[in-house]
């Protein structure tokens, strides 16, 4: 996946992962890493931004190893934003597919 395409989708992917279940940073990165390459260091600036926009909130929960982990959870606003992003993404992909077209014809 090229860098340009990744730009806009990283935020949506993180929200989508949190839409399935609450997660901590390392968990989010490893789930992303499967499909979307990213610089791991940027996860925290990104999470802070999502927090700043009130799309996610954090809480601490016990872990098996060492001190408690910081978990991220989608807020109501986050859920709405994710739904909006998904709809936009799908209509965009449909449009691009329609233009690329020839594979289906």
């Amino acid at each position: 996946m090229s860098a340009q395409l990744k730009k806009g989708t990283l935020e949506m992917c993180v929200l989508a992962i949190l839409g399935q279940a609450d997660a901590y940073a390392y968990d989010i990165v490893s789930r992303l890493a499967a499909g979307v390459e990213m610089s791991e260091g940027t996860i925290y600036p990104l999470m802070r931004r999502l927090q700043n926009d009130a799309l996610v909130r954090t809480y601490l929960a016990e872990s098996e190893q060492g001190p408690p982990r910081k978990y991220y959870r989608l807020t109501e606003a986050g859920r709405r934003e994710l739904a909006k992003m998904k709809a936009e993404w799908r209509s965009f992909v449909d449009e691009v597919n329609r233009i690329l077209g020839d594979d289906h014809e």
């Binding site: 730009k7 260091g41 802070r48 700043n52």
Partner: protein
């Protein structure tokens, strides 16, 4: 780079952040290292995956400054947002020039509104001392008004006391002493009209003194006339007094206009400033998303 080195460099690069925020950031990355190691990676692998601490610190700092700005919109925090963007190298000359022009225009607009306010205050100040010779507000304005009008030796006093009684006294100059002001010469004739609201504690000199009746009676205030003099002179004098009062009110209009206009203008300026700040924050966010993308 091992974990301790990475954290130390991150701490150094974050530098000027408040301690609790810095500790929060460090805790995040320590947790990340723990989770990485728990998944069988070495500290070196995790830190190379995370990338350059200096770059992370810049992004985090810019983001946290925006956060501070969102929480508390002060000039200092706005300055921090600008500094953060400059550190990221995303605030260039292309934007700086129009920003500067806008700032100058806004400053000029502020100066105008402040000038209007000053005009209002000056007019208000000249209104009050100017009134001293015409209208005496002793105590609170609107409560007691005392007007003295003197012209060619004739004198008219207008007193409104606490909305309860209105006294108008006119006096004509003594013909025996035409050089002296009327106030000093013994007045030849004097016209005095006192209008008092029924129930006024001072009004118990003349006729009905029935307080029980006064409480129940909501009718018009009775007038007590005395020593009716020359009607025409009296009318002229009253007109002159009210003319002077109008003049004083003219200053009041200037004062009110200056203050009101200045205040409205100031509000407009604040509104424009707010819009500009918002636009700037949007621009900042746009920059962040672009940076984050190219960073990956």
């Amino acid at each position: 780079m091992n974990k301790d080195k990475f954290i130390a460099r991150l701490r150094a690069e974050m530098g000027d952040l408040p301690k609790d925020q810095l500790d929060d950031v460090v805790a995040d990355y320590e947790e990340y290292f723990r989770d990485g190691e728990a998944n069988g990676r070495t500290q070196e692998e995790v830190s190379s995956g995370l990338g350059d601490p200096a770059k992370i610190a810049k992004e985090l700092r810019a983001e946290m400054r925006l956060q501070q700005w969102a929480r508390k919109k002060s000039v200092a925090n706005f300055g921090r947002v600008v500094l953060g963007l400059m550190a990221l190298g995303s605030l260039n000359l292309f934007l700086a020039v129009p920003t500067l022009v806008m700032m100058v225009m806004l400053m000029a607009s502020y100066v105008i509104s402040v000038a209007l306010l000053i005009v209002g205050i000056v007019a208000g100040a000249s209104f009050i001392p100017g009134v001293n010779s015409l209208v005496d507000f002793d105590g609170k304005p609107g409560k007691t008004i005392h007007v003295v009008q003197e012209k060619d030796g004739s004198r008219l006093e207008f007193t409104r006391d606490g909305k309860k009684s209105v006294t108008i006294v006119t006096s004509e100059p003594s013909k025996a002493t035409p050089d002296k002001p009327a106030a000093e010469g013994a007045p030849k004739s004097q016209t005095s009209i006192t209008i008092r609201t029924k129930g006024d504690p001072d009004a118990d000199d003349d006729d009905d003194d029935d307080d029980a009746d006064a409480d129940g009676d909501g009718g018009p205030a009775p007038a007590t006339g005395a020593d009716k003099g020359d009607d025409q002179d009296f009318d002229n004098a009253v007109e002159a007094v009210f003319h002077k009062v109008d003049e004083a009110e003219g200053w009041g209009v200037v004062a009110a206009g200056g203050l009101g206009g200045g205040a409205l203008w100031m509000l407009f300026n604040l509104w424009v400033t707010r819009l500009l700040f918002r636009g700037f924050v949007r621009y900042a966010r746009l920059n962040y998303s672009v940076l984050r993308g190219t960073d990956a």
